[in-house]
């Protein structure tokens, strides 16, 4: 669903205060300057928007933004939210 991708990108841009145009799927989280606190802030915002609770270790293997978004989408989808 393209709209969930778009919503998540909007939310990442807003939460990490990053220009939406820089959010390419192949960019690594490090390239984007996203540290662990940014990731937690984004996860919290996703939890609040979709009414889900996301496990703390869900992103331990995540490297790039595409993987991050896919994992988020998976967790949001599983909840039925």
């Amino acid at each position: 669903m393209a709209t969930v991708d778009e919503d998540l990108l909007d939310l990442i841009a807003a939460e990490a205060l990053i220009d939406r145009g820089k959010l390419a799927r192949e960019a690594t989280l490090a390239d984007l300057g996203l540290d662990s606190v940014d990731v937690i802030s984004i996860v919290f915002a996703v939890e609040e928007k979709y009414g889900v609770e996301i496990p703390q270790d869900a992103f331990s293997d995540t490297v790039d933004l595409g993987g991050f978004i896919d994992t988020l989408k998976d967790l949001v989808g599983k909840s039925g939210g």
């Binding site: 990490a16 205060l17 300057g33 606190v37 940014d38 937690i40 802030s41 919290f44 939890e47 609770e53």
Partner: protein, 416 residues
């Protein structure tokens, strides 16, 4: 004459401000001077777990603040700071840059940072509790505590600019930045520091906190009309303001811009009531500041009042001005810029000090806005309508906080 027993003279060498009137001290002054008030109705929505949204007047910072701050600092800030810290850091950077102090060794060795806040990281706290109580998620954000704590802004300033001397926050509700200025001046007067970054910040325009203020029965449902007939309360503003205070000799030696002199400090407590002001407390603070500055007699002062627009404050403050100055009470032009930028609570005195210093320098008193007509209880020389040319060489700046905590400061124009 200096503000302390040491006689060390204290001058202002940098100003920084961000509030609803603008994002720099210069823009804030220009809007105040031009009568471009920023109070407007805003809708505050408590979200799915709260009561319905409601609309009330406020003076909110417009536009992006974090992006320009990141550009100024040359590093990413992201969402790691509560807005009250972003405002403080923005104002501090502007003030230190104007003073020519960024990267200077004096900041590390001989500087203090004292900022005042009536509250703390209310945006962060309210959001965290919405999640905790509303959504019933137990896990809190790892930065919740550092973002909320009242000393976050001073720590952020110290870390950003490498200040290793006395650094702490002070709190006295609506007088907080007045006390911060007094404390910073005391460090310079005592010889403990050569430079003090002082001021305050506040960001409390959240759905829950505003309802708290409405519970006080002191908020206007319309707008802020200081000293006016028909005034019906205060309006919340937000922002940050910072001044660089410096020993005169230190400032002159390094050729710093001198923007004014802090010549008098008067502090008092009413020891009386949570929300009702006392005449004695206000008179005591104003008299002490004017005696120290030598401005009790003589030429007219520009008086930047606490002027909240509540029926009680303005009546009491007008009576206090009459009690302090007697037959000469109406010689002094009176301004009340909360009618333009709202009540910044902990940052109010600092932002009004900046506007007042620029008013002295440009010899123009900014107008009181939203004034409907005279109130016999507020018989003062009110500057209403538009900016008025003034001859005053000194500013008397008042803050009378809920809980009865008062500060009056006297600043003098530098040079003739």
């Amino acid at each position: 004459m200096g503000v302390g027993a040491s006689g060390r003279r204290i001058v202002v060498t940098g100003l920084g401000a961000v509030c609803a009137l603008g994002h720099t001290a210069k823009d804030v002054w220009a809007a105040a001077r031009d009568g471009a008030g920023a109070i407007a109705p805003h809708t505050f929505d408590p979200g799915p777990h709260g009561p319905p949204a409601h609309t009330t007047p406020a003076a909110l910072v417009d536009g992006e603040v974090t992006g320009p701050l990141e550009a100024a600092l040359g590093r990413r800030v992201g969402n790691s700071l509560d807005p009250f810290t972003v405002f403080a850091l923005t104002a501090a950077h502007e003030a230190l840059a104007q003073a020519g102090l960024i990267g200077e060794p004096v900041l590390e060795r001989r500087a203090a940072v004292v900022l005042g806040h009536g509250f703390a990281g209310i945006h962060t706290m309210e959001h965290a509790y919405e999640r905790f109580y509303g959504q019933r998620i137990a896990r809190m954000h790892p930065l919740s505590v550092p973002k909320v704590m009242v000393s976050a802004p001073v720590s952020a300033v110290a870390m950003e600019f490498g200040v290793r001397g006395p650094v702490f926050a002070v709190s006295s509700a609506c007088s907080s930045s007045g006390h911060a200025i007094a404390q910073g001046a005391a460090f310079i007067a005592s010889g403990a520091a050569d430079v003090a970054l002082v001021g305050g910040s506040e960001a409390i325009a959240t759905p829950g906190c505003l309802r708290g203020w409405e519970g006080l029965q002191a908020m206007s449902p319309t707008t802020c009309r200081p000293f006016s007939a028909g005034r019906d309360g205060m309006v919340i503003g937000e922002g940050g303001a910072a001044l660089v205070l410096e020993g005169l000799e230190h400032a002159e030696k390094r050729g710093a811009p001198i923007l004014g002199e802090l010549a008098g400090v008067g502090l008092s407590s009413d020891a009386f009531h949570w929300t009702q002001p006392s005449l004695e407390g206000a008179v005591s603070a104003m008299t002490a500041a004017c005696e120290q500055a030598g401005t009790l007699e003589g030429s007219p002062l520009l008086i930047s009042t606490h002027g909240t627009g509540t029926p009680l404050n303005d009546k009491n403050e007008a009576a206090a001005i009459h009690a302090v100055f007697g037959a000469r009470a109406k010689d002094h032009p009176v301004i009340a810029t909360k009618s333009a930028h709202g009540h910044l609570i902990g940052a109010a005195t600092a932002v009004q000090g900046i506007i007042g210093l620029m008013a002295l320098a440009e010899r123009l008193a900014p107008p009181i806005l939203n004034w409907l007509g005279p109130d016999p209880d507020c018989d003062l020389d009110l500057v209403v309508g538009e900016a008025r040319p003034i001859e005053a060489g000194a500013l008397l700046l008042n803050a009378f906080a809920f809980g009865g905590l008062n500060t009056s400061l006297v600043f003098k124009r530098w040079g003739a």
